[in-house]
Amino acid sequence: MRRVVCLLRQVPFSYRLLGLVSLSFLCLRNVCVDFPIYQGSSRSLKKALLATSTHGNLARDALDRINIRALSDVSIDIVNGDRVGLIGLNGAGKTTLLKVLAGVYEPTQGRFASSGSVSSLLDIQVGLNPDATGRENIILRGMYMGIHPREMRSRATEVAEFTELGHYIDMPVRTYSAGMMIRLAFSISTCIPPDILIMDEWLTAGDAQFLEKAQRRVEDFVRGSSILVLASHSTELVERWCNRGILLHQGRVIITGPIKEVVAAYRRLIGGEAAQAAAQMAAAG
């Protein structure tokens, strides 16, 4: 019989109290994610019902579902203190993988297990009401992160300070520029150090001064045994922020390892693609 050890085993309370152990990890085993792409008639109940009763051609018509395999056979272990950079071309599956890690998508196949509080910065707009002021939005977005308004109110000043938005914090968010929105969203999402921070590439749109400040904050809590997963095109940013890298290509993990090696592999991949494209052009021309 297979011995099954409880994965999310309770750490002794005294350990937690003393801060001796904080267990956070992300673990993927043979994870596949298939996106059903519904279009036209496959979105229609009427067509689907007709199809089941008539079969034949209609069935094929109504069920014109196309499945896109966004991730295929991904196995990754990410543990305490890892700052992981996800790199890959557009459509390589970076965002899908982030969403699986954030718990938004459940894998279609394979297993996903995680431990630790997750804060995900996938979309800047989530929980932000454009008509409310920055300060009101701190409470609002906090709620979607599972933080009670009472607690958030006590942190609001601290968050407002970190954004360095000055008087703008009391202005409606619709007056904000993209960069200001990023400042606000990042400050809110990291006001309580999460065990696992998941960020999509939009962060890179922030200005250099804020990026530096953000990096210091992230480094601070990654040192306190947390996990960072960051997806980006910018090899420069990833090299600065991360110590491990994962290269995705067409939904598969090509290589994992120290960030330098992975970035080098990514450069080779881009080079290869460019060469291939050039060869095709030459053949066509």
Binding site: R2, R3, V4, V5, C6, L7, L8, R9, V11, V21, L23, S24, F25, C27, R29, F35, P36, Y38, R43, S44, L45, K46, A48, D77, V79, N80, K99, A102, G103, V104, Y105, E106, R111, A113, V118, S120, L122, D123, Q125, V126, G127, M143, Y144, M145, G146, H148, P149
Partner: protein, 283 residues
């Protein structure tokens, strides 16, 4: 098959993964987790109501005024049409229409349970049931605002109130709330998958309003009243209207409502357990 293993950072050992929780287990966890976050959905629902009437002086009571005007207008015309006294007709119409607003609200909005919050579903991990509770609670809040009209009408046209029977309202409301939850889950999921469902449901609700004795007295059907009594929508309104107006409820109303709730819960739960993980892909 090779055993699935994971590095345990706590002990530094390689341990095997536990069996994944079953679909039913996950569905139950989802429903309970949503309940545990009650502070979140109550706050969000209150905010929904506030935002809907933002900028108007009356606030949410704007809704009360609309319902009141509708009841006043319909009351005068239809009591003439049905040749009944306003004294009898208006209280019946008021109570019926206010509870119908709740039922119709949950059913039509229920189609958007998940579609309406797709931005959140796609970005943040929250129990799916949370969106359901938020929707049902929001409609109960609207009911509370509309409810103000009932005592006003009952004061204008005083009927003897059977105080003891008002206790019956409680189980009635509980049953309607539970029904609201399963309806919102079921319709919300079907609508997320099949986008032609919301308009279909909207037209059905409209038809049901006219065939259900909401604005016409069931006695008007004479000896044919029995088939209207089998209508579950009537049953739902009847168990609430009866005690408020001190009238007896139709013989099968409670049993019909109970059976409908039980069957609906079973079907809805089965559907939720089977397709819960697909919702994020559907919206």
């Amino acid at each position: 098959m090779q055993p699935e293993t994971v590095f345990d950072a706590c002990t530094g050992q390689i341990v095997e993964l536990t069996e994944p929780p079953t679909r039913i287990g996950l569905a139950v966890t989802d429903l309970l987790e949503g309940m545990r976050k009650s502070w979140l959905w109550t706050t969000l629902a209150q905010q929904d109501v506030k935002l809907r009437y933002r900028g108007s002086i009356l606030g949410p009571f704007w809704q009360t005024l609309t319902t009141g005007a509708m009841i006043g207008g319909m009351g005068v015309i239809y009591s003439k049409l049905f040749r009944t006294e306003l004294y009898d007709y208006l209280p019946m119409l008021t109570v019926g229409l206010i509870f119908w607003t709740l039922i119709a609200g949950i059913v039509t909005e229920g189609c958007g349970t998940f579609i309406a919050v797709q931005g959140i579903i796609q970005q943040v991990k929250l129990p799916f049931s949370l969106h359901v509770y938020r929707l049902v609670y929001r409609n109960l809040l609207t009911l509370a605002h509309n409810f103000v009209i009932i005592p006003i009408v009952l004061l204008m046209y005083p009927h003897p109130i059977a105080w003891l029977r008002l206790i019956e309202l409680l189980p009635g409301l509980v049953l309607i709330t539970i029904t609201g939850i399963w309806v919102a889950i079921l319709l919300g999921m079907i609508s997320a998958r099949f986008r032609d469902v919301p308009p279909i449901v909207a037209s059905i609700v409209q038809v049901v309003f006219f065939v259900t004795p909401v604005m016409w007295p069931i006695q008007a059907l004479g000896s044919n009243a029995w088939w209207a009594q089998l209508n579950p929508f009537f049953a739902a309104i009847d168990v609430l209207r009866g005690p408020l107006l001190g009238q007896s409820t139709a013989p099968y109303s409670w049993s019909i409502l109970l059976v409908a709730t039980a069957l609906g819960c079973a079907a809805s739960f089965a559907f939720f357990a089977r397709f819960r993980s697909r919702i994020a892909f559907w919206v």
